[in-house]
């Protein structure tokens, strides 16, 4: 950990339009790293003190995942516009925050997602088809078509269950890590959320319990500038979101969230701290939501094109690609092949998913309890007797 930086040591601050420097208060705490961590320098070199030392193959793999994620995002928006899926919420522009952090997790570590982290799930090995089935809520969907698109869960991949209420996963991730600690298992939880979620009850409870019980938890706050139409500057008057760590006695670190290697490095360090018994870390990953909040949102109503354009020029994928190209690890041809392959893979999965039947009617009554009580059996039987049961293959 670096020594106490002076208040001036945060020159990156102004770069981020949604940075909360507004009150002019600059706290200085040895708990917090204010200067956003950066690894990939403008000149193409790498900060040697922070270089996570990934192999070339691993870097290319992560880049490919970023690109695939991007292509999926774009294509799913189209499918939604065509009425073929109901909804999508993506990670356009935030790929580095998600892929970089998930890549840093060890196999045994658990991920507690918000709702933009399907890239992390794919990186952890969930087949694309499984993800696409979830987008269609069909009978093959592992959550049985019960939740909206992008509300997947991935136990086999040490990956939690998406739900819509903001922040609830945070406290749960803390409890999970705490349980592992009690059982002396070397396991850290990574929990994702947006900067808007720092206003939730859950952030407060999760961070406070994490501080008191020193749980091995990495709080990954994707500060993407917006909570739907509410700018980060109106979410909190704190100087930075990382500063909130001080209130809970945990570490806070600001990270250039569009620098994949920086996100990787900071996350890995936080995981190691947790694993060593040093408790939780709050990472503020400075990034930007380039698209609308979801397919239900039109961001033109509340933000300026200029702001978006500024951030487009910092595209995390382009940045990582440039960096790989400089090292001779990537080129146009590979890019084209990757994009074509990714689009084709997705198309294939969509084809399969669209053909799959919906979940069976009776599945609606299962899994409320482990065993179905009488009242649900009655409700199920009543529905199965009804006129619509036929349409569902009864």
């Amino acid at each position: 950990m670096s020594a106490t930086p002076s208040p001036k040591a945060a020159p990156g601050v102004k770069e981020f339009a949604h940075d909360n420097g507004k009150n002019g208060h600059h706290a200085v705490s040895p708990l917090v790293t204010y200067e956003p961590i950066r690894v990939m320098r403008e000149d193409g070199s790498v900060d040697p003190a922070r270089d996570p030392g990934l192999t070339d193959a691993r870097m290319v793999e992560l880049y490919c995942t970023m690109v695939r994620t991007r292509i999926i995002d774009e294509r799913l928006v189209t499918l939604q516009r065509q009425g073929r899926i109901g909804f999508h919420i993506g990670s356009l522009g935030e790929e580095a925050t998600i892929i970089g952090s998930a890549a840093a997790a060890r196999k045994q570590d658990w991920i507690f997602p918000c709702y933009r982290e399907f890239g992390a799930l794919l990186l952890r090995g969930m087949p694309l088809q499984t993800y696409v089935d979830n987008m269609f809520g069909n009978g093959n969907d592992t959550v049985k078509g019960r939740q909206m698109p992008d509300h997947y869960s991935g136990r086999a991949y040490n990956f939690g269950s998406v739900s819509s209420p903001i922040g609830t996963q945070i406290t749960q991730a803390v409890g999970f890590a705490w349980a592992a600690k009690m059982k002396k298992d070397d396991l850290v939880t990574l929990v994702y959320f947006g900067e808007g979620a720092t206003s939730s009850n859950e952030f407060h409870n999760g961070a406070n319990f994490a501080g008191v019980f020193k749980t091995p938890t990495v709080f990954l706050c994707r500060n993407n500038g917006w909570a739907i139409s509410v700018p980060a500057s109106k979410q909190s008057a704190s100087q930075t979101f990382a500063d909130k760590a001080i209130a809970y006695g945990i570490r806070g670190v600001r990270v250039d969230g569009n620098d994949l290697l920086a996100v990787y490095s900071a996350t890995r360090e936080a995981i190691e701290r947790g694993s060593r018994g040093e408790g939780a870390t709050l990472l503020e990953l400075l990034t930007y939501r380039l698209s609308g909040h979801s397919t239900s949102d039109d961001p033109k109503a509340y933000r300026k094109d200029a702001e978006v354009d500024q951030w487009k020029s910092k595209d995390p994928n382009v940045r990582f690609r440039t960096w790989l190209e400089r090292r001779g690890l990537w080129n146009d041809k590979k890019q084209t092949e990757l994009e074509e392959q990714a689009a084709a893979d997705l198309q294939e999965c969509v084809k399969v998913a669209e053909k799959a039947p919906p979940p069976p009617l009776e599945s609606m009554f299962e899994d409320v309890f482990q065993e179905m009580p009488w009242h649900l059996r009655e409700q199920r039987d009543e529905l199965l007797k009804g006129p619509r049961a036929k349409g569902h293959g009864h």
């Binding site: 109901g86 809520g137 509410v230 409320v368």
Partner: protein, 324 residues
């Protein structure tokens, strides 16, 4: 008279009352510049400014807690909860504080505000954008609960709710936000709280519904008519306090009741209605009152049209009840 949909009618009511009464303020997530995720508050920010149409941090507890404080000061806040599924982080402030202020202070303090929030399914919202939590509020003494089914009532009931001396939960059935259209008078009028409306008179069965399900009830009623069953359809409009007189009058006539709601059946508002009918019209009952409701499961995504108590599920209940 202008034609409006529900969104427009509610917007119209808010604008009207905000012009009239500078104590009325709107606050919530995304209610400002963007006018709410359903655009119900569209244009209010431009007209009234960010001091009266306030985008808040992402915290329902903060929204309701501060709104209660504003109300104690004498303002009339009309907070929006983006989806009623997200009201639960504020549940403690609502049930422990808002509902009890007048009572617990011996009448010294009143926390008068109106919580607006979209309810119900049918927009492919799954678990967390579809629920209908009315019974979780009706059970708590001290709250009034309203749910309009059409633009005329929406405007009139919202104006009445804002002017009512007690806290009101104003549930807006999002499935019909734009689908329900109708004539809405310009200017001021109210629809009184606590008064149901007989939408279709009938003599064989009473169907009780509200919000988006009213249309399903009417659909079922007209299908039943083809089978010679003349159903009376009541739109509750105000759920609590309940217009028991209109219900009992109808039951005394028909002797048969079907209650329809989207919320899960068990401990839903339907159970209260059935229990009250037992108390007040037992000897008039010719058949067991029936509930056609959401199932006792979380609200599903793909099968939402199977989950909802649509006409195809109401109709058999009406027929069976009529023929009991």
């Amino acid at each position: 008279m202008p034609q409006m949909n529900m969104v427009q009618a509610i917007n119209d009511a808010l604008r009207l009352e905000m012009r009239k009464n500078d104590k009325v303020v709107v606050l919530g997530e995304d209610v400002g510049k963007v006018g709410g995720v359903f655009r119900v508050t569209a244009g209010l920010y431009d007209e009234f400014g960010d001091d009266r149409v306030i985008d808040t941090p992402l915290s329902e507890g903060g929204i309701i807690g501060t709104a209660i404080g504003m109300a104690l000061y004498g303002l009339v806040p009309v907070p929006e909860i983006q989806f009623s599924d997200f009201i639960f982080p504020a549940y403690d402030q609502i049930v422990s504080e808002l509902a009890k202020f007048r009572y617990r202070s011996g009448g010294e303090f009143v926390s008068k505000l109106v919580i607006r929030t979209p309810v119900g399914g049918g927009i492919r919202g799954g678990h967390y954008h579809s629920q209908s939590p009315e019974s979780q509020f009706i059970h708590v003494a001290g709250l009034k609960v309203v749910c309009p089914s059409n633009p005329y009532d929406a405007k009139g009931l919202l104006l009445a709710s804002i002017r009512d001396p007690d806290p009101v939960l104003f549930f807006e059935p999002k499935r019909i936000y734009r689908a329900a259209k109708g004539d809405v008078p310009e200017g001021d009028y109210t629809v009184p709280l606590g008064k149901a409306q007989v939408i279709k008179p009938g003599k064989h069965v009473t169907i009780i519904a509200w919000g988006a399900m009213l249309y399903e009830a009417l659909d079922a009623a007209s299908q039943a008519m083809e089978k010679g069953i003349d159903a009376e359809v009541i739109d509750l409009r105000t759920l609590w306090p309940l217009d028991i007189d209109t219900i009992i009058e109808s039951v005394k006539k028909t002797g048969r009741v079907v209650v329809v709601h989207e919320a899960p059946k068990s401990c839903g508002f339907g159970s209260e209605i059935v229990a009250l009918i037992n108390e007040k019209a037992f000897l008039h009952l010719e058949a067991p009152p029936v509930r056609v409701t959401g199932f006792d499961t979380p609200f599903p995504y793909t099968l939402e049209m199977e989950y909802l108590p649509l006409a195809h599920r109401i109709l058999p209940a009406v027929v069976q009840t009529a023929q009991y």
